[in-house]
């Protein structure tokens, strides 16, 4: 098979070209996402320094805040920096859906088993 990414007249790659004016708008978006990512990181670090780990509800809420902020960051990186958001919907789906199906299962099973293992350890310690 001919390697379509190496041939000169690669329609897919050539179609990704944009004009100087479009470039200005795209760069503006890139800088905006940079600011968002930096601010989220700063908030995370600030929260990490301020709040100590404990067995309270506050800490549980903070933990979930960390996870949600991280998912926001990940979304910006994947959708804007890797411009998956600009790809066709079917490519977006074959990348994201299988990943989430596997990982949701893996997280569920590992945490359930981990907690059960913890119980066994306590029992036979």
């Amino acid at each position: 098979m001919e390697r379509d990414d190496l041939i000169v007249n690669d329609s897919y790659a050539l179609n990704a070209h944009h004009s100087e004016e479009e470039g200005v708008a795209i760069r503006k978006k890139i800088y905006m996402v940079t600011v968002i990512l930096s601010v989220i990181t700063a908030i995370e670090v600030g929260m990490g320094v301020m709040f100590k780990r404990s067995e309270t509800f506050t800490w549980t809420a903070i933990k979930w805040t960390f996870i949600i902020l991280t998912l926001f960051k990940a979304g910006y990186i994947v959708m804007t920096f890797m411009h998956l958001g600009d790809e066709r919907k079917n490519l977006r789906n074959v990348v994201i859906i299988p990943y989430f199906v596997f990982i949701a299962y893996l997280i569920f099973i590992a945490l359930t088993e981990g907690a059960a293992h913890f119980g066994l350890d306590l029992m036979f310690h």
């Binding site: 795209i26 991280t70 920096f81 490519l91």
Partner: protein, 326 residues
């Protein structure tokens, strides 16, 4: 980025062969598939870390108490160094996406400029990680385990009932002198003076160092510094079981060796990705320099290596949250 991706393609040609149903080149699609599989690998590692942590019966170290040093500075700066590393990686991701954008405008000199900066950012990150590993391996003072049960009073009059096998932490300066002492290479004279352990001789020459305090629960909840006579009680109850920093057998940070092992494996595997990303970036930089992309009339290779580089940043975002923050 606008491209064919945003255009409608008639249904007849989608699966009829001859063109990609995803409107991307073969190389770019395969890069995405590779990234999905690599993302599964990293997720597996982080989930394994979560499993170990959820099943651990002993206290798990707190990130902001383990990672709170800055190169060349005394004092405590929780998470600042890791935040700096995160920021370096985010910035190098931004310069990469700017290189991709310049490529879409066929602006060769801008591609070179932004890729060059990305490579420099990558080296900065690798250097930071080298320092962090070195600091983690050397540790901050070391710990010893108690040989017998001790009850000591804390600075605010609270009582700590410690049992044999509990860990007690030394300060940085003294701990590293003890490390030499225990290695058996150096003659070290230790004495007791007004509630301090004093070291007066190191090797052939006099060397004065005081152990001012010992820390309890250094890397977990309830960190307390014990000084004076109570400190001497702890010191006198020490066993021969010392740990300095971390390696694959021993760790001052946690009873569970798995904590250090996961640190080495997860950040090491990520660092290896950064390293290979820098190498691939250099290769593509040289291709741009040799005008290969001009002959092809497009800079898609920059976009593909960019995907890999952003992925490395993406992984670090998760490592940062799950290893350092939570």
């Amino acid at each position: 980025m606008s491209g064919e991706a945003s255009k409608a393609i008639s249904k007849e040609v989608l699966w009829g062969g001859g063109r990609s149903p995803f409107s991307v080149s073969y190389g770019k699609m395969m890069m995405w598939y590779f990234l999905v599989s690599d993302a599964l690998t990293f997720s597996g590692l982080l989930v394994a870390y979560g499993f170990s942590r959820a099943s651990a019966t002993d206290a798990w170290p707190i990130g902001e108490q383990v990672f709170r040093a800055l190169p060349g500075l005394e004092g405590q700066y929780p998470l600042i160094y890791v935040a700096l590393m995160t920021f370096i990686l985010i910035v190098s991701s931004v310069t990469m996406v700017l290189a991709v954008e310049a490529g879409h405008r066929n602006d060769r000199s801008a591609v070179l400029k932004w890729m060059g900066l990305t490579i420099i950012g990558g080296f900065f990150f690798l250097g930071s990680q080298a320092w962090e590993w070195s600091h983690f391996i050397h540790g901050s003072g070391g710990s010893f385990l108690l040989a017998e049960d001790v009850t000591v009073t804390g600075p605010e009059g609270e009582t700590f009932e410690l049992t044999a096998g509990d860990a007690v932490y030394m300060d940085h300066h003294f701990g590293h002198l003890m490390e030499m002492h225990l290695a058996g290479n150096t003659a070290v004279t230790l004495s007791e003076d007004g509630g301090h352990v004093v070291l007066t001789e190191l090797g052939d020459h006099p060397h004065e160092a005081h152990l001012h305090g010992l820390t309890l629960n250094k890397y977990v909840e309830g960190e307390t510094v014990i000084e004076g006579g109570a400190m001497m009680d702890l010191w006198n109850a020490r066993s021969a079981d010392f740990a300095f920093g971390a390696n694959l057998h021993d760790s001052e940070y946690a009873y569970q060796q798995s904590y250090s092992n996961f640190f080495f494996f997860i950040t090491g595997f990520h660092g290896f990705h950064v390293f290979s990303g820098v190498i691939i970036n250099i290769v593509v930089f040289l291709m741009v320099l040799n005008r290969v992309m001009e002959r092809r009339k497009h800079y898609e290779m920059v976009e593909k290596v960019g995907l890999y580089w952003h992925f490395v940043d993406l992984v670090w975002v998760f490592v940062f949250t799950f290893f350092y923050l939570i």
